[in-house]
């Protein structure tokens, strides 16, 4: 059963990766990174039990703690850019 869940997670990672590669906007990529982060945490937690060594949950814990620093950095990136470029520059690409 762990295998089934892992499989679902990996397939979803692939779907998220497709979204990240296709885009179209940069925010879609960030969304995909975020999704993949959550899926990775879940995958790692499932796999620790698949391996039968639950003491390796530290890895999933690390990811669950620091994954969103990247998203916050993106927000800060756009915020500071909007602040410096001034209004009107709408960053559409």
């Amino acid at each position: 059963m762990y295998y089934a869940v892992s499989f679902a997670l990996i397939v979803t990672m692939a779907l998220a990766l497709v979204r990240a590669v296709l885009g179209p906007s940069v925010y879609d990529r960030v969304l995909a990174v975020n999704m993949l982060g959550t899926k990775t945490v879940l995958l790692l937690s499932v796999i620790t039990f698949l391996f039968g060594r639950p003491d390796f949950l530290d890895l999933a814990l690390a990811y669950s703690l620091i994954n969103f620093i990247g998203v916050l950095a993106v927000l800060e990136f756009f915020r500071s850019r909007a602040q410096h470029a001034g209004p009107g520059d709408d960053g559409k690409r």
Partner: protein, 110 residues
């Protein structure tokens, strides 16, 4: 008897979680614009960890692993929606409005 019951329950939780994960992935791929995709991804990203980690916790029983799993779940539930919020803020800030919705008056002219 109790063990079988727990097993069945945890398998149910795990498969439901896997299903939600998959649905979220499909949603993120198929939805028409950024905000709907974000919706699909972030909602399932909240329910799927609850189900999957609850399923694993039933298997782990009362142990250090369960406490760690609870911590992982807590942090995922805290950070996931926050990250979605931050991402939506970033997108709005850069002038990326929902395609099928009119921007609110007053906020449209920044």
């Amino acid at each position: 008897m109790l063990e079988t019951l727990l097993d069945i329950l945890s398998w149910l939780l795990l498969s439901a979680g896997g299903l939600f994960v998959f649905v979220g992935g499909v949603g993120a791929l198929r939805m028409p614009d950024l905000y709907t995709r974000m919706h699909a991804a972030s909602v399932t990203d909240s329910i799927a960890p609850i189900l999957i980690i609850a399923g694993i916790m039933l298997q782990a029983g009362l142990s250090l692993a369960s406490i760690k799993l609870a911590a992982i779940l807590l942090f995922l539930l805290l950070t996931g929606p926050t990250a979605s919020n931050a991402l939506a803020s970033a997108a709005l800030l850069a002038g990326h409005f929902p395609e099928h919705a009119k921007p609110l008056d007053g906020e449209s002219k920044q």
